[in-house]
Each structure stands twice: as structure tokens, then as C-alpha cells.
């Protein structure tokens, strides 16, 4: 008797748990799909040495091979394993995307908060950002890189700088609206210092839209890095980044399409995952947008 009741309990608990999970998936399908894909990609990128071969190993006798159980995506014109290179390529894209998103968020937060509080700084900075916003981002990144030469640090800087205006404007608008709220005035009257008000009241209000914006920056950064590398203005050519792989495989498109489509498809999936996550976060924080879309 006691055994059956225990069984029932286990069963019902299991049901509750699955129901909870189903509910999360049903309520936030975009966050679950995008976030899930992104987590899988991050794990696959980090664990690449465990399951993929050496991405740099050359084998002149195995050039331009078709996909086989040995080499899932075949080999490229230098006899390198395309699967291994694609998996290692995820590291570059994710590193650039995540770093750019964090850097743009922190930079925008810093400039936006100062601009929101210091009027004289605000007037100058907003004019500068207006100008910066009118320069097409991709061309600005090309100009920055052509002045300094390729490299991952300058590449991330070249991606982040054009993104700063939009992030800064977002933070500034939050600061300007929140700092007039009665509870912020009350906190200041009550003797709270400005840094504490920023930390306790302004930052939490700015975080949700900032997360959505950071997802956009991340997706844009991944696309920009791939595009720049594709043009020969991004990563140094020997690095297995998806843009570099697509660039070096275009001559072999008629005979070895997998060599180009493998990094291309992974690139698209990664950007899609980040975009879905961003859309999901926006729906979560701004339920009005869900109804509209």
C-alpha cells in the first residue's frame, strides 16, 4: 500500500516537472530555441579538441575530398579537415560576438549614464554620436582595419565603435526618464549617494533593453566579422574563421560545395540563434511587442 502511494507520488512529480518544462517552452519558444542552440554551439566550440581533428593539419594527399565517415564535411584545397575547421571556427565567431556585445554594453552604459547626468557632456557627446551614427558601420570598420592592419583586438574595436551610438542613446534615454521618477528623487532626498542610486534604480531599469540591444550587437558583430574576413580585412587568413573559410573556398564551389556551405550554414544558424534569443528577450521584457509581431 505504502509502495503504491510512493509510486503515485513519483509519477505525479514527474508529470509536474514535465508540465513545467513544457510551459516554459510554450511561453518562451524563442528564448528556449535561440538560447538552446546557442548553448549547444558554445559547448561544441569549447569541446572541439575532444571530438574534432586538428584544424590546421595539412594533408596534400587528401585534398578536396568529398564528405566521408572519416571527414564529415570532406577536406579543403590544402587537405585540411573542413569539419574540424568549422567547429573551431565557431570559437572565433562566438568570441567576437560575445566580446563585442559585452564591450558595447559596458561602453554604452558608461557614456550613456554620464551623458544622462552631465548636461554639458551630453550636448557634445550626442552631436559626436549623431555624426558617428551617419557613417555606415561596415565601411567604418573597413577604414579602421585598413589603417591598422588585421588582428582580433582591432577587429572587435572596429565592430564595437560603430555600435556605441545606439547603445549609448538607449542607456541615456533610460537615465533621463528614470532620474525624474519620484522614487529616485525620494532616494536622493533620503541621503542615498548617486552611485548607489545608479546601481539600485537606474541599472536595473536599463538592463532589460540593454540585453535585447546586446543580442542585436552580438548578431551584427558575428556577421560583420564574417563579412570582413570574407573580404580579407578581418582575421589573419590562416585562422579558421567562418568568413576566412568561405573566402578561401569560393574558387572550389563547383567541385567542393560542402567546403563553402558548411561554414556558411553554421554562420547562419549561429546568427539565427542570437536573433531568436534577442526577439524572445524583447517579447519577455516588452509584452506589447509580442502582440504586434
Amino acid at each position: 500500500m505504502s509502495q503504491t502511494s510512493a509510486e503515485i507520488k513519483v509519477v505525479s512529480q514527474g508529470r509536474v516537472r514535465t508540465r513545467g518544462l513544457v510551459r516554459i517552452v510554450r511561453r518562451h519558444p524563442l528564448i528556449v530555441t535561440g538560447g538552446g542552440l546557442l548553448v549547444i554551439l558554445i559547448i561544441a566550440a569549447l569541446a572541439a579538441p575532444l571530438y574534432a581533428g586538428d584544424p590546421m593539419a595539412l594533408d596534400p594527399f587528401k585534398r578536396l575530398q568529398s564528405p566521408s565517415p572519416d571527414m564529415w564535411f570532406g577536406s579543403d584545397n590544402l587537405g585540411q579537415d573542413v569539419f574540424a575547421r568549422t567547429m573551431y571556427g565557431a570559437r572565433i565567431s562566438l568570441l567576437v560576438g560575445l566580446t563585442a556585445a559585452v564591450a558595447a554594453a559596458l561602453g554604452g552604459l558608461l557614456i550613456g549614464v554620464i551623458a544622462g547626468y552631465v548636461g554639458s557632456f551630453d550636448r557634445i557627446v550626442m552631436r559626436v554620436l549623431d555624426g558617428l551614427m551617419s557613417i555606415p558601420t561596415f565601411l567604418l570598420a573597413i577604414a579602421l582595419i585598413s589603417l591598422t592592419g588585421p588582428g582580433i583586438v582591432i577587429l572587435i574595436a572596429a565592430i564595437v565603435i560603430p555600435e556605441l551610438p545606439s547603445v549609448t542613446r538607449l542607456v541615456r534615454s533610460v537615465v533621463l526618464s528614470v532620474r525624474e521618477r519620484p522614487y529616485v528623487e525620494a532616494a536622493l532626498c533620503g541621503g542615498a549617494r548617486l552611485p548607489k542610486v545608479l546601481w539600485r534604480h537606474i541599472l536595473p531599469t536599463a538592463i532589460p533593453p540593454l540585453m535585447v540591444q546586446s543580442a542585436n550587437v552580438c548578431a551584427g558583430a558575428i556577421l560583420t566579422e564574417a563579412g570582413l574576413s570574407f573580404l580579407g580585412a578581418g582575421m589573419p587568413p590562416e585562422i579558421p574563421s567562418w568568413g576566412n573559410m568561405i573566402s578561401s573556398s569560393r574558387l572550389y564551389l563547383p567541385i567542393a560545395p560542402v567546403m563553402l556551405f558548411a561554414p556558411g550554414v553554421f554562420l547562419a544558424i549561429t546568427v539565427l540563434a542570437v536573433n531568436l534569443l534577442g526577439d524572445g528577450l524583447r517579447d519577455l521584457f516588452d509584452p506589447r511587442s509580442k502582440r504586434r509581431r
Partner: protein
């Protein structure tokens, strides 16, 4: 109204001046000698000294800037390091393919994007709407150069229906010109169609839930009249804004698409300039496209008053 146009123009000029300052400082604060960058890798010390003299690099920065800005306003954008020819001349030779590609892309993406958006909003939640949502998410995520190679592989290499790459000037006949531009235009349009369709759908849905739409339906207006006469007119402002803003995005797409399809346009000029470290060309394209962007958004702002008589300044 006149005052508004005037003020809007003044602010456009201020923004353009900021762009100028920014691009100017970019070269001045780059690591290395600006004169050496302008002169190129194979320059002799005498050439570098000559350029330093011409740019006035020993004078204070504001004087240098005025000098630089005035020569650009006078139409002197410098000369290419690689060919030694004036940048403006090189640009004008490359303009036709780029303008053709851009205009065809605008036409295709606005017509397709707006129609998809209207269809999806009209039957919100239906199968067209779902298909569009998926297409919008995917289309906005696949890089244009990957789309380009997919199209090349399936429509040019496998089936041989269309040329793989290259360009034919319109002077050689509209047929060959159009045939060579079909794949580039299709590739470049994918993200724009996705983007415009999404915005159109959102702003149409907003308008369709207004009271006056219910009134129109109650008075027996046909679905056609409701969608196009009542709704689209009111949904026009956000759509127009997006079309203006997407210009910056169009430029990156043009550079990539021209590289995929080997179209000898401004984008190829920029890519060649990266590889030969030809900074004057990159700087000029940067300034000119920024100017064009400012002008387009000025035009969009002024066009609001035309499509929406309620907006008065």
C-alpha cells in the same frame, strides 16, 4: 514648414561636419605617419615629405582640418595610391553597376517586403503569416554572401540558367544587363525583404486594430479598400523610416555582393583598396556614403509630410 525644412537642413549640415571631423581624426590618430599612409607602401621619402607639405601636417590640427575639408568641398578627394588617378574619377567609373544593383534591390525589396507584410498582417496567425515569420527570422540571419553562393551554386553552376558572375553595362542592352543582375539583386534583397516585411506587418497590425478600421468594415468597405486605402496609408510612416535607415545596411551588402558576383562597382573598388592599402579611396567612399545617408534621411523626414498630412512642422 519652411522653418522646419531650414532647421532640418542646418542639423544635417552639423551632422555632416561631425562626420568630417571624425573621418579626419581617424587618419590623424592612426598608428604611424598619416603622410606615409596616404603615400602608400612604395613611397620614397621625398614623396612622403611632399604629401606632408601638401596636407600641412606641421600646422595645428584645426588648420589642417579646415584645409582638408575645404579641398573636399571643392571636389578634390585626393588620388589613389595604386593608380595615381583622382578618386572621384575612379568612383564615377564604378558607379553604374552599383547604382543599378542598388536601385533594383530597392524596387524588389520594397515591393516584395511591403506585399508580404500586408498579406501576413491581413491573415495574422494564418499559414502565410507563419511562413513569413520563419522567412523573416532566417532571411535576416543568413549573410548576403552565403545567400549569394547558394544562388550561384543552384541557379548558375548546377542548372546553368544564369551567369555565374560578372556584369554587362546597360549600354550593351537591357537584356544582358538584367540577366547579370538577377542573382546579385536576389541575394542582396533577402535581408531587406525580411526586414521590410517585418516592419510592414507590425505597423499594419497596429493600424488594423484601430477603431476607424472597424468603422470602415461596418460601412461595408471591401478588404482591398480597407488594406490599401485605410490601413497602408497610415502604416506608411514606419515603413518609410525603415527604407531610409536601411541604406547604411545596403552599403555593406553591396560591398559583399559585388565581391561574390565579381561586379566591378564601388564595392569592388573598396575591397581592392583594402588589399592594396589604398587609404584615399576608402576615406572618400566613407565620406561620400555618409553624406548620401544624411541626405536620404533628410529626404525621408521631409517626405513624412507628403504621405501623412497630419504631420506638420
Amino acid at each position: 514648414m519652411g522653418i522646419y525644412i531650414f532647421r532640418r537642413m542646418v542639423s544635417a549640415i552639423v551632422v555632416m561636419a561631425m562626420v568630417g571631423v571624425f573621418v579626419f581624426l581617424l587618419l590623424r590618430f592612426a598608428p604611424g605617419d598619416p603622410a606615409a599612409i596616404i603615400a602608400g607602401d612604395n613611397a620614397t621619402p621625398q614623396m612622403i615629405a611632399g604629401i606632408r607639405e601638401r596636407l600641412g601636417l606641421n600646422k595645428p590640427l584645426p588648420v589642417q582640418f579646415m584645409h582638408w575639408a575645404l579641398s573636399m568641398l571643392g571636389g578634390d578627394f585626393g588620388s589613389s595610391i595604386f593608380t595615381g588617378r583622382p578618386v572621384l574619377q575612379l568612383l564615377s567609373q564604378r558607379l553604374e553597376p552599383t547604382v543599378s544593383l542598388s536601385i533594383l534591390t530597392w524596387i524588389l525589396s520594397v515591393t516584395m517586403g511591403v506585399s508580404f507584410g500586408i498579406l501576413a498582417a491581413w491573415r495574422a496567425g494564418g499559414s502565410i503569416d507563419r511562413a513569413l515569420t520563419v522567412f523573416a527570422a532566417v532571411g535576416f540571419s543568413v549573410p548576403v554572401f552565403v545567400v549569394g553562393y547558394f544562388l550561384v551554386y543552384f541557379f548558375a553552376i548546377s542548372t546553368r540558367w544564369l551567369p555565374v558572375q560578372g556584369y554587362q553595362p546597360i549600354a550593351n542592352g537591357v537584356g544582358p544587363w538584367l540577366v547579370h543582375l538577377i542573382l546579385p539583386t536576389a541575394a542582396l534583397s533577402v535581408p531587406f525583404i525580411a526586414f521590410i516585411a517585418r516592419i510592414t506587418r507590425a505597423s499594419m497590425l497596429e493600424v488594423l486594430s484601430e477603431d476607424y478600421m472597424r468603422t470602415a468594415a461596418a460601412k461595408g468597405a471591401s478588404p482591398y479598400a480597407m488594406l490599401f486605402h485605410h490601413a497602408l496609408k497610415n502604416a506608411g510612416v514606419p515603413i518609410l523610416t525603415v527604407v531610409g535607415l536601411s541604406f547604411a545596411y545596403l552599403i555593406s551588402g553591396v560591398v559583399l555582393t559585388e565581391t561574390v558576383f565579381n561586379v566591378p562597382g564601388v564595392g569592388r573598388l573598396v575591397v581592392d583598396a583594402i588589399n592594396s592599402r589604398d587609404y584615399p579611396i576608402i576615406q572618400s567612399v566613407l565620406i561620400l556614403t555618409s553624406g548620401l545617408y544624411v541626405l536620404i534621411n533628410l529626404a525621408v523626414d521631409l517626405a513624412y509630410t507628403l504621405i501623412d498630412p497630419r504631420i506638420r512642422y
